[in-house]
Protein backbone atom coordinates (compact mmCIF):
# COMPACT_ATOMS: atom_id res chain seq x y z
CA UNK A 1 0.00 0.00 0.00
CA UNK A 2 1.38 3.36 -0.99
CA UNK A 3 0.53 6.49 0.95
CA UNK A 4 2.17 9.79 0.27
CA UNK A 5 1.62 12.60 2.71
CA UNK A 6 2.56 16.21 2.29
CA UNK A 7 3.64 18.28 5.23
CA UNK A 8 3.11 21.54 3.40
CA UNK A 9 -0.45 20.76 2.39
CA UNK A 10 -3.26 22.76 3.96
CA UNK A 11 -5.10 19.44 4.37
CA UNK A 12 -4.46 17.79 7.74
CA UNK A 13 -2.45 14.58 7.55
CA UNK A 14 -5.31 12.41 8.82
CA UNK A 15 -7.47 13.71 5.99
CA UNK A 16 -4.75 13.00 3.44
CA UNK A 17 -4.48 9.42 4.68
CA UNK A 18 -8.23 9.02 4.67
CA UNK A 19 -8.61 10.31 1.11
CA UNK A 20 -5.78 8.16 -0.21
CA UNK A 21 -7.07 4.97 1.36
CA UNK A 22 -10.56 5.71 0.04
CA UNK A 23 -8.97 6.17 -3.36
CA UNK A 24 -7.11 2.87 -3.14
CA UNK A 25 -10.36 1.13 -2.25
CA UNK A 26 -12.39 2.83 -4.96
CA UNK A 27 -9.87 2.09 -7.72
CA UNK A 28 -9.59 -1.51 -6.64
CA UNK A 29 -5.98 -1.51 -5.41
CA UNK A 30 -7.31 -2.60 -2.04
CA UNK A 31 -10.03 -5.22 -2.22
CA UNK A 32 -12.71 -6.20 0.25
CA UNK A 33 -11.43 -8.21 3.18
CA UNK A 34 -7.84 -7.11 2.69
CA UNK A 35 -6.03 -6.20 5.89
CA UNK A 36 -4.76 -2.66 6.36
CA UNK A 37 -1.51 -2.08 8.23
CA UNK A 38 -2.16 -1.64 11.94
CA UNK A 39 -2.42 1.96 13.11
CA UNK A 40 0.87 1.70 14.96
CA UNK A 41 2.72 0.25 12.02
CA UNK A 42 1.41 2.90 9.66
CA UNK A 43 2.30 5.64 12.16
CA UNK A 44 5.82 4.26 12.39
CA UNK A 45 6.19 4.00 8.62
CA UNK A 46 4.86 7.50 7.99
CA UNK A 47 6.77 8.96 10.93
CA UNK A 48 3.67 10.48 12.43
CA UNK A 49 1.79 10.10 15.67
CA UNK A 50 -0.54 7.18 16.31
CA UNK A 51 -3.46 9.45 17.09
CA UNK A 52 -3.26 10.95 13.62
CA UNK A 53 -3.58 7.53 12.00
CA UNK A 54 -6.24 6.54 14.48
CA UNK A 55 -8.31 9.54 13.46
CA UNK A 56 -8.00 8.60 9.77
CA UNK A 57 -9.06 5.01 10.50
CA UNK A 58 -11.98 6.22 12.59
CA UNK A 59 -13.18 8.39 9.72
CA UNK A 60 -12.81 5.49 7.28
CA UNK A 61 -14.77 3.25 9.62
CA UNK A 62 -17.49 5.87 10.02
CA UNK A 63 -17.81 6.19 6.26
CA UNK A 64 -18.07 2.42 5.88
CA UNK A 65 -14.83 1.91 3.97
CA UNK A 66 -13.11 -0.23 6.56
CA UNK A 67 -14.07 -2.41 9.47
CA UNK A 68 -12.06 -2.75 12.63
CA UNK A 69 -12.15 -6.01 14.53
CA UNK A 70 -10.70 -5.51 17.98
CA UNK A 71 -7.59 -7.59 18.48
CA UNK A 72 -7.37 -8.46 14.80
CA UNK A 73 -6.95 -5.16 13.01
CA UNK A 74 -8.65 -3.21 10.28
CA UNK A 75 -9.95 -4.61 7.01
CA UNK A 76 -11.41 -3.22 3.86
CA UNK A 77 -15.16 -3.48 4.26
CA UNK A 78 -17.15 -5.63 1.88
CA UNK A 79 -19.23 -3.18 -0.06
CA UNK A 80 -20.59 -2.28 -3.37
CA UNK A 81 -18.19 0.03 -5.14
CA UNK A 82 -20.75 0.86 -7.77
CA UNK A 83 -23.16 1.90 -5.07
CA UNK A 84 -20.64 4.23 -3.45
CA UNK A 85 -19.69 5.74 -6.78
CA UNK A 86 -23.37 6.26 -7.58
CA UNK A 87 -23.89 7.96 -4.26
CA UNK A 88 -20.87 10.21 -4.67
CA UNK A 89 -21.94 11.08 -8.20
CA UNK A 90 -25.29 12.20 -6.88
CA UNK A 91 -23.60 14.37 -4.26
CA UNK A 92 -21.39 15.92 -6.96
CA UNK A 93 -24.39 16.52 -9.22
CA UNK A 94 -26.13 18.39 -6.48
CA UNK A 95 -23.15 20.68 -5.95
CA UNK A 96 -22.68 21.24 -9.67
CA UNK A 97 -26.33 22.10 -10.00
CA UNK A 98 -25.89 24.76 -7.39
CA UNK A 99 -22.86 26.10 -9.27
CA UNK A 100 -24.86 26.18 -12.51
CA UNK A 101 -27.65 28.12 -10.82
CA UNK A 102 -25.21 30.68 -9.50
CA UNK A 103 -23.59 30.93 -12.92
CA UNK A 104 -26.87 31.44 -14.78
CA UNK A 105 -28.14 33.99 -12.31
CA UNK A 106 -24.98 36.07 -12.50
CA UNK A 107 -24.02 35.79 -16.11
CA UNK A 108 -21.04 33.47 -15.67
CA UNK A 109 -20.80 31.57 -18.92
CA UNK A 110 -20.63 27.80 -19.27
CA UNK A 111 -17.12 27.97 -20.74
CA UNK A 112 -15.77 29.86 -17.78
CA UNK A 113 -17.46 27.52 -15.32
CA UNK A 114 -16.15 24.45 -17.12
CA UNK A 115 -12.67 25.93 -17.04
CA UNK A 116 -12.89 26.41 -13.31
CA UNK A 117 -13.91 22.79 -12.86
CA UNK A 118 -11.05 21.69 -15.09
CA UNK A 119 -8.67 23.74 -13.01
CA UNK A 120 -9.83 22.08 -9.80
CA UNK A 121 -9.45 18.66 -11.37
CA UNK A 122 -5.88 19.34 -12.36
CA UNK A 123 -4.92 20.69 -8.95
Amino acid sequence: MEIIISNSSEKPIYEQICIQIKNLIMNGTLSAGEALPSMRVLARDLHISVITVQRAYEDLTRDGFIETVSGKGSFVAAQNREFIREEQLRAAEELLQKAAEIGRAHGIGYEQMANILKLFYEE
Binding site: P12, R40, V41, H47, S49, I51, T52
Partner: protein, 285 residues
Protein backbone atom coordinates in the same frame (compact mmCIF):
# COMPACT_ATOMS: atom_id res chain seq x y z
CA UNK B 1 -7.47 -1.17 34.69
CA UNK B 2 -5.22 1.83 34.76
CA UNK B 3 -4.94 3.36 31.29
CA UNK B 4 -2.09 5.68 32.12
CA UNK B 5 1.52 4.75 32.52
CA UNK B 6 2.14 8.07 34.25
CA UNK B 7 -0.47 9.82 36.32
CA UNK B 8 0.54 13.04 38.05
CA UNK B 9 -1.89 15.06 40.15
CA UNK B 10 -1.28 18.37 41.92
CA UNK B 11 2.44 17.77 42.14
CA UNK B 12 4.23 20.48 44.11
CA UNK B 13 7.87 21.09 44.86
CA UNK B 14 9.44 24.22 46.28
CA UNK B 15 13.06 25.20 45.86
CA UNK B 16 14.64 28.48 46.71
CA UNK B 17 13.33 30.75 43.97
CA UNK B 18 11.38 28.08 42.11
CA UNK B 19 7.99 26.52 42.62
CA UNK B 20 6.49 23.58 40.79
CA UNK B 21 2.89 24.53 41.21
CA UNK B 22 0.15 21.89 41.24
CA UNK B 23 1.33 20.08 38.14
CA UNK B 24 -1.15 17.53 36.76
CA UNK B 25 -0.97 15.48 33.58
CA UNK B 26 -1.05 11.93 32.30
CA UNK B 27 0.82 9.75 29.87
CA UNK B 28 -1.59 7.17 28.44
CA UNK B 29 -0.51 3.69 27.39
CA UNK B 30 0.60 3.33 23.81
CA UNK B 31 1.21 7.04 23.33
CA UNK B 32 4.11 9.39 22.88
CA UNK B 33 3.79 12.49 25.01
CA UNK B 34 5.97 15.52 24.42
CA UNK B 35 6.86 17.73 27.37
CA UNK B 36 7.95 21.17 26.21
CA UNK B 37 9.02 24.35 27.90
CA UNK B 38 12.02 26.63 28.07
CA UNK B 39 15.09 25.82 30.15
CA UNK B 40 14.25 26.16 33.82
CA UNK B 41 10.50 25.77 33.32
CA UNK B 42 10.41 22.70 35.53
CA UNK B 43 10.71 19.83 33.05
CA UNK B 44 13.67 18.12 34.69
CA UNK B 45 12.36 18.73 38.17
CA UNK B 46 9.11 17.03 37.20
CA UNK B 47 11.02 14.08 35.74
CA UNK B 48 13.22 13.71 38.82
CA UNK B 49 10.11 13.76 41.00
CA UNK B 50 8.46 11.08 38.85
CA UNK B 51 11.57 8.94 39.21
CA UNK B 52 11.49 9.47 42.96
CA UNK B 53 14.95 11.02 42.86
CA UNK B 54 13.55 14.12 44.51
CA UNK B 55 11.07 14.22 47.37
CA UNK B 56 7.82 15.92 46.49
CA UNK B 57 6.19 18.45 48.76
CA UNK B 58 2.70 17.51 47.74
CA UNK B 59 0.53 15.75 45.20
CA UNK B 60 0.31 12.31 43.74
CA UNK B 61 2.45 10.38 41.25
CA UNK B 62 1.36 6.97 40.00
CA UNK B 63 3.28 4.81 37.55
CA UNK B 64 1.51 1.83 35.96
CA UNK B 65 -1.19 2.31 38.59
CA UNK B 66 1.27 2.08 41.51
CA UNK B 67 2.83 4.66 43.78
CA UNK B 68 6.07 5.92 42.25
CA UNK B 69 7.87 5.12 45.51
CA UNK B 70 7.17 1.41 44.99
CA UNK B 71 10.57 -0.12 44.08
CA UNK B 72 8.93 -2.55 41.60
CA UNK B 73 8.15 0.26 39.16
CA UNK B 74 11.82 0.93 38.40
CA UNK B 75 12.17 -2.35 36.52
CA UNK B 76 9.60 -1.14 33.97
CA UNK B 77 11.14 2.28 33.30
CA UNK B 78 13.92 3.20 30.93
CA UNK B 79 15.46 6.61 31.48
CA UNK B 80 17.74 8.72 29.33
CA UNK B 81 19.18 12.05 30.37
CA UNK B 82 20.93 14.58 28.18
CA UNK B 83 24.35 13.38 29.29
CA UNK B 84 25.70 9.92 28.71
CA UNK B 85 26.23 8.59 32.22
CA UNK B 86 28.68 5.77 31.44
CA UNK B 87 32.34 6.17 32.22
CA UNK B 88 34.68 6.71 29.28
CA UNK B 89 36.87 3.70 29.99
CA UNK B 90 34.06 1.17 29.59
CA UNK B 91 32.95 -0.30 26.29
CA UNK B 92 29.38 -1.34 25.43
CA UNK B 93 30.20 -4.92 26.30
CA UNK B 94 31.22 -3.88 29.84
CA UNK B 95 28.02 -1.86 30.15
CA UNK B 96 26.04 -4.95 29.35
CA UNK B 97 27.79 -6.91 32.12
CA UNK B 98 26.87 -4.19 34.60
CA UNK B 99 23.29 -3.59 33.52
CA UNK B 100 22.37 -7.25 33.08
CA UNK B 101 23.10 -7.55 36.80
CA UNK B 102 20.85 -4.58 37.56
CA UNK B 103 17.78 -5.46 35.53
CA UNK B 104 16.17 -8.86 35.85
CA UNK B 105 14.56 -8.48 32.44
CA UNK B 106 17.77 -7.49 30.58
CA UNK B 107 17.59 -8.80 27.00
CA UNK B 108 21.07 -9.47 25.59
CA UNK B 109 19.78 -10.36 22.15
CA UNK B 110 17.88 -7.11 21.88
CA UNK B 111 20.86 -5.11 23.12
CA UNK B 112 23.18 -6.64 20.49
CA UNK B 113 20.56 -6.16 17.81
CA UNK B 114 20.26 -2.45 18.59
CA UNK B 115 24.05 -1.99 18.77
CA UNK B 116 24.31 -3.53 15.32
CA UNK B 117 21.46 -1.45 13.95
CA UNK B 118 23.12 1.78 15.03
CA UNK B 119 26.62 0.64 14.15
CA UNK B 120 27.97 0.95 17.68
CA UNK B 121 31.13 -1.10 18.24
CA UNK B 122 30.94 -3.45 21.22
CA UNK B 123 34.59 -3.35 22.15
CA UNK B 124 35.60 0.28 21.74
CA UNK B 125 35.83 2.53 24.80
CA UNK B 126 32.92 4.92 25.18
CA UNK B 127 35.43 7.76 25.55
CA UNK B 128 36.13 7.51 21.84
CA UNK B 129 32.44 7.84 20.87
CA UNK B 130 30.82 10.90 19.32
CA UNK B 131 28.03 12.61 21.25
CA UNK B 132 25.48 11.04 18.91
CA UNK B 133 26.84 7.54 19.55
CA UNK B 134 26.85 8.11 23.31
CA UNK B 135 23.22 9.19 23.26
CA UNK B 136 22.29 6.25 21.08
CA UNK B 137 24.02 3.90 23.48
CA UNK B 138 22.13 5.49 26.40
CA UNK B 139 18.83 4.98 24.66
CA UNK B 140 19.69 1.43 23.66
CA UNK B 141 20.55 0.66 27.28
CA UNK B 142 17.29 2.21 28.43
CA UNK B 143 15.36 0.00 26.02
CA UNK B 144 17.28 -3.27 26.37
CA UNK B 145 15.54 -4.31 29.56
CA UNK B 146 12.20 -4.05 27.76
CA UNK B 147 10.62 -1.34 29.89
CA UNK B 148 7.03 -0.24 29.49
CA UNK B 149 7.83 3.40 29.87
CA UNK B 150 10.64 5.38 28.34
CA UNK B 151 11.43 8.74 29.91
CA UNK B 152 13.79 11.03 28.06
CA UNK B 153 15.00 14.33 29.40
CA UNK B 154 16.38 16.50 26.59
CA UNK B 155 17.89 13.37 25.09
CA UNK B 156 17.74 14.62 21.52
CA UNK B 157 19.44 17.95 22.28
CA UNK B 158 22.75 18.47 20.52
CA UNK B 159 22.25 15.62 18.08
CA UNK B 160 22.35 15.96 14.33
CA UNK B 161 19.11 15.62 12.37
CA UNK B 162 19.96 12.13 11.12
CA UNK B 163 20.49 10.70 14.58
CA UNK B 164 17.41 12.52 15.91
CA UNK B 165 15.36 11.00 13.14
CA UNK B 166 16.69 7.51 13.90
CA UNK B 167 15.70 8.04 17.51
CA UNK B 168 12.18 8.98 16.52
CA UNK B 169 12.11 5.69 14.60
CA UNK B 170 13.07 3.88 17.77
CA UNK B 171 10.30 5.57 19.75
CA UNK B 172 7.68 4.69 17.15
CA UNK B 173 9.03 1.14 17.14
CA UNK B 174 8.83 1.09 20.93
CA UNK B 175 5.12 1.94 21.07
CA UNK B 176 4.24 -0.82 18.61
CA UNK B 177 3.43 -2.55 21.90
CA UNK B 178 0.26 -0.82 23.10
CA UNK B 179 1.28 -1.14 26.74
CA UNK B 180 4.32 1.04 26.20
CA UNK B 181 4.62 4.80 26.22
CA UNK B 182 7.26 7.44 25.75
CA UNK B 183 7.52 10.62 27.79
CA UNK B 184 9.84 12.94 25.93
CA UNK B 185 10.97 16.26 27.29
CA UNK B 186 12.62 18.58 24.83
CA UNK B 187 12.91 22.14 23.76
CA UNK B 188 13.37 20.93 20.19
CA UNK B 189 9.73 21.17 19.31
CA UNK B 190 10.10 19.89 15.74
CA UNK B 191 10.85 16.36 16.97
CA UNK B 192 7.78 16.44 19.14
CA UNK B 193 5.70 17.92 16.35
CA UNK B 194 6.54 14.86 14.25
CA UNK B 195 5.80 11.94 16.52
CA UNK B 196 3.99 13.03 19.68
CA UNK B 197 0.35 12.18 20.28
CA UNK B 198 -0.03 14.66 23.12
CA UNK B 199 1.87 17.78 24.04
CA UNK B 200 2.23 19.30 27.49
CA UNK B 201 3.60 22.82 27.87
CA UNK B 202 5.11 23.84 31.18
CA UNK B 203 6.09 27.40 31.98
CA UNK B 204 7.41 28.76 35.28
CA UNK B 205 6.46 25.60 37.12
CA UNK B 206 2.88 25.50 35.88
CA UNK B 207 1.22 23.42 33.20
CA UNK B 208 -0.06 25.81 30.54
CA UNK B 209 -1.80 23.15 28.47
CA UNK B 210 -2.09 19.44 27.82
CA UNK B 211 -3.48 18.92 24.33
CA UNK B 212 -3.65 16.49 21.46
CA UNK B 213 -0.90 17.51 19.08
CA UNK B 214 -3.18 17.39 16.05
CA UNK B 215 -5.58 19.81 17.69
CA UNK B 216 -2.74 22.21 18.32
CA UNK B 217 -1.24 22.20 14.85
CA UNK B 218 -4.47 22.00 12.88
CA UNK B 219 -6.56 24.45 14.87
CA UNK B 220 -4.25 26.99 16.45
CA UNK B 221 -3.17 29.87 14.30
CA UNK B 222 -1.40 33.19 14.35
CA UNK B 223 -3.17 36.35 13.32
CA UNK B 224 -1.17 39.32 12.07
CA UNK B 225 -2.81 42.65 11.51
CA UNK B 226 -2.48 46.39 12.02
CA UNK B 227 -3.26 48.09 15.32
CA UNK B 228 -6.50 49.53 14.01
CA UNK B 229 -7.75 46.17 12.81
CA UNK B 230 -6.69 44.58 16.08
CA UNK B 231 -9.07 46.86 17.94
CA UNK B 232 -11.95 45.25 16.04
CA UNK B 233 -11.02 41.72 17.11
CA UNK B 234 -12.98 40.53 20.10
CA UNK B 235 -10.75 39.53 23.04
CA UNK B 236 -12.69 36.25 23.19
CA UNK B 237 -11.28 35.24 19.84
CA UNK B 238 -7.61 35.19 20.75
CA UNK B 239 -5.56 33.75 23.57
CA UNK B 240 -2.52 35.98 23.71
CA UNK B 241 -1.41 38.98 21.73
CA UNK B 242 1.81 40.84 21.33
CA UNK B 243 2.49 44.21 19.79
CA UNK B 244 5.49 44.76 17.57
CA UNK B 245 6.63 48.00 15.98
CA UNK B 246 4.90 47.21 12.73
CA UNK B 247 1.93 45.00 13.63
CA UNK B 248 -0.02 43.09 16.24
CA UNK B 249 0.20 39.31 16.43
CA UNK B 250 -2.24 37.08 18.28
CA UNK B 251 -2.43 33.41 18.98
CA UNK B 252 -5.89 32.02 18.20
CA UNK B 253 -7.40 28.68 19.16
CA UNK B 254 -9.53 28.16 16.06
CA UNK B 255 -7.93 29.67 12.99
CA UNK B 256 -10.75 28.64 10.63
CA UNK B 257 -13.35 30.42 12.71
CA UNK B 258 -11.20 33.54 12.83
CA UNK B 259 -10.67 33.40 9.05
CA UNK B 260 -14.40 33.28 8.53
CA UNK B 261 -15.22 35.99 11.01
CA UNK B 262 -12.66 38.63 10.09
CA UNK B 263 -11.70 39.76 6.61
CA UNK B 264 -8.42 41.33 5.57
CA UNK B 265 -6.25 39.81 8.23
CA UNK B 266 -3.43 37.33 7.87
CA UNK B 267 -4.07 34.02 9.60
CA UNK B 268 -1.07 31.72 9.54
CA UNK B 269 -0.69 28.15 10.69
CA UNK B 270 1.13 27.85 13.97
CA UNK B 271 3.93 25.40 14.69
CA UNK B 272 4.49 24.04 18.17
CA UNK B 273 7.42 26.39 18.44
CA UNK B 274 5.23 29.40 17.63
CA UNK B 275 2.69 28.33 20.20
CA UNK B 276 5.33 27.77 22.85
CA UNK B 277 6.93 31.15 22.18
CA UNK B 278 3.60 32.93 22.48
CA UNK B 279 2.91 31.39 25.86
CA UNK B 280 6.41 31.74 27.19
CA UNK B 281 7.13 35.26 26.00
CA UNK B 282 3.55 36.41 26.36
CA UNK B 283 3.00 40.04 25.52
CA UNK B 284 6.68 40.75 24.95
CA UNK B 285 7.55 41.40 21.33
Amino acid sequence: MEDNNIFVQDLCKRFDGFLLDHVSFRVPKGRIVGFIGENGAGKSTTIHLILNELKRDGGQIRLFGRENTDPCVREDIGVVFDECCFHDVFNPSDIEKILSGVYRSWDSGLYRQYLKKFGIPERKPIGSFSRGMKMELSIICAMAHRPKLLILDEATAGLDPVVRDEMLDLFLEFIQDEECSVFLSSHITSDIQKVADYVILIHQGRIIFEEQKDDLIYHFGIVRCGKEKFASISPDDYLIHRVTNVSVECLVRDREAVRRKYRDIVVDNATLEDIMLFYVRGGAA
